[in-house]
């Protein structure tokens, strides 16, 4: 783990996080994903995050903006760079890695 990358992650942790979760209707998988996300954010990013849920069934054209194919997809809009995490977020370790909250092993 380099010092620079570690510093950046620390900085990222102190920033305000903007997360967007793409779902398609109120499917069980979407609900599971949202629940997993909320729990995770409370645990690691308490009070420093906003979650926006985008239902593509209502606005399918929004899928193009963030190049969404898989559902559910979590997009880390801020801090940059953008990160995409797909799946129901049940694998917490991989979500943390994907969000740069934990170094890749």
């Amino acid at each position: 783990m380099s010092a620079a990358k570690s510093e950046r992650r620390d900085q990222a942790v102190s920033e305000l996080w903007t997360l967007r979760l793409y779902v398609a209707g109120q499917t069980p998988r979407s609900l599971v994903a949202l629940a997993n996300l909320k729990q995770l954010c409370e645990q690691y990013l308490a009070k420093r995050y906003t979650i926006e849920v985008v239902d593509l069934v209502q606005n399918p054209q929004l899928a193009r903006g963030d190049q969404i194919l898989a559902i559910p997809t979590l997009v880390r809009k801020l801090p940059v760079p953008m990160r995409k995490i797909i799946g129901d977020l049940s694998d917490t370790d991989r979500v943390l890695v994907g969000l740069d909250l934990r170094p890749r092993s």
Partner: protein, 521 residues
Amino acid sequence: MAFEETAPELAQNVRSLGFDVEKLVAGGKLFIDHVQIEPSEIEETGDYDLEGLFLRLGSAIDTVGAKRVAIDTLETLFASFANERILRAELRRLFRWLKDRGVTAVITAERGDRTLTRHGLEEYVSDCVILLDHRISEQVATRRLRIVKYRGSSHGTNEYPFLIDDRGIEVLPITSARLDYEASRDRISTGVPSLDEMLGGEGIYRGSTVLVSGTAGTGKTSLAAQMVDAACRRGERCVYFAFEESSRQIIRNMRSIGIDLGAPMRKGLLRFDALRPTLMGLEAHLTNIYRAVRDFGPTLVVVDPISNLASSGGSALAEGMLARLIDFFKTRQITLLLTCLTRAGETIEGTEVAVSSVIDTWVLLRDIESSGERNRAIYVLKSRGMKHSNQIREFLLTDDGIRLRELYVGPEGFLTGSARLAQQAREETEEKTRREAISGRKRAMIRRKEDLEAELAAKRRAFEAETEELRRSIEEAERRADVLASDRDDMALERGSAVRRPGRVRPRARRLKVARRGVES
């Protein structure tokens, strides 16, 4: 839905194929959705599906009311997502979903090592599989296409070459699986009256395929030019595909035998298409020929020569191409004239490209070498549906076109050129001598007859003279006998011893005469 190219890139790339994507997009006919996936940005955490893809497709279809959907290419999806189990399930669902939406979908995928597709799934879930292939054989690259499966149809199973150029994609399969084209009874002249005569007196059938084969310099192009000239004179349109000479060269050369191909060209009846055979593959040539024919609408097409064309591809390929070429013209009732160079050493009745069986009329030109000369000869090897001549004739290129001469056949074989002329002179002399001999004998016979007749006349005269002599002497004798008898009577009368009995004297005399005659004869 493009996975590999952005909309502007796509527009630019297909412009060279003659598609104006921007116009289609502006006109609401086309919607391009570029899907960009960065596998490195994606972290997979648990269960997911590709509903996003479905939603995007659905909204794209609704935007323009699409009837067709193209997805290019599935490989990107497989490269982007690690969970193959989900992908396979989702792909299956995608195919189903597209069908339910009532759209025709064209989906591209890469070919696997030994399987039709890399993931061995796509070909099973789709209704129609078209396999594209790009192979190089004998340094010529040819794209080929094969319909592997097409549910609910009896599709052609063969592999067909295809072409991509500025007018899009052109596939040229054999258009008619059945041989059911029209057969015209209309006959057209070859432009050489004596050749027409050899071809049953009326020339070739319209819409038939004519092959003129021969070794180098036997006059194949000249014969072709003569036919073109004749067709143009009838006001018909012709296309001349030259693979050996430029159009200017052909026009110049044909002028030397009195055929002016420049005039019909200026009138717009004749179109030359001179191309180097190696310039492109057979498929491109074929397409070029098709297009020229479609655009120009000729009734006669010349391909001069097909042997060169054949060299730009493999022999098997050339054969297939020629079969399709002939098929194309047959179905359109366009007369096709092919010339074919027979190389020295090859059997003269063999063609480099085995097309001889599919052509209708085969005219063979050959050299005859004798007494230090090379002369041209022509014969009709076959001509379907007519009583063609079985004669070999001498083929002459004169200042005003092609002329055929009866070939002299003598005890030493057939003679051509100056040998024929010499033989003709010799024959004339012999004939003259013979004739003189005959008339001499006739004269002698007449003379003999006259002699005999004269002799006969002389003898008759002699005979007549003799007869006359005899008659006279007989008469004299009779007269003398009468005189004697009357003298005796007179004497008896004088003596009074006898009564004059007229009539008794004569019977005596008559008896005498008869007796004499009997002696004579």
